[in-house]
Symmetry: D2
Subunit: 97 residues, 4 copies
């Protein structure tokens, strides 16, 4: 089960709204809108994607990392935690770049 | 005429590819893909949007700012440059946030 | 105990290096270096700060979130996890902005 | 002459304040402050660096790009503009990454 299962509908709604924003950008280019207005709209889409990322990070930490921390075998637990934390940090690093 | 007119087709192609990536994200969520894989893909879309922004910034500076700099009347020119430079910097600031 | 205790020396070394980079920037401005070269150096400092952030996030998740997950009382545990995960996500959100 | 000459004092003041913030971070780590509070402070330094970058970008566009646009020889002018615009865009790209 994915960490975001409980909020799957909300996540899909956000992604559909972002898809609509990207189509809106295409319309703006089609109609030769002013470059600064397009840039402002691109910044809004980037911000909406950041919000999606943050939601996913929150659910990943709350479900996958915490899930690893409840593994009963101590040695497996330490390994599972290290793996999940590393994975989360790498993903956050890709967002920061 | 918009600053990006010469590259309008290229810009539309990039935006259509981004729209496809966002639809791909919806499919990943639909199929309960692992949250880290979705995050990696969200980071890729953000990066693609940054590339679009940079292209627009380049064309804005090269056309709109430089256009203002070629206004023959000195007083109007100084004012037009200030306006266009401020506008470009504000747009870049929104991208950095 | 802070989540970063085990790597405190490494963290201090990085921060001292960043302090040196910022002083280097002041020297560049003092010597009227070209703005683009200064911008390149500012981008390097920002990158170094991102690396520091990521290290802190990794240790926060690995210690503070995982610590909350090992609280024996189930009700307290759920609450502690929620609190720590929310705190981490808010901090990551401030980095993305 | 650098594009930021007119605001050199302001730029140095900002950089000195950033240096102070980085030293403040070292004190926080020395005193084992909570990782989230350090992260919040790192985000503030990153934001201050972004403000410095934006100031430099604004002055670069306003002075160096506009300077190139006032080159009287048309062939040299086109080349100088292309060079300066490319340089500015590359620098902004490094900030976005």
């Amino acid at each position: 089960m994915a960490g975001y299962s409980a909020n799957k509908k909300d996540l899909q709604d956000r992604l559909r709204r972002i898809e609509g924003q990207v189509r809106g950008l295409q319309r703006m280019v089609e109609e030769d809108k002013y470059c600064i207005d397009i840039l402002t709209q691109v910044a809004a889409v980037t911000k909406a994607l950041h919000a999606v990322s943050l939601g996913l990070v929150e659910e990943h930490i709350g479900h996958c990392v915490v899930g690893a921390a409840s593994e009963p075998d101590a040695a497996l637990r330490a390994e599972a935690i290290d793996f999940k934390v590393k994975e989360a940090t790498d993903a956050i690093g890709r967002l920061l770049r």
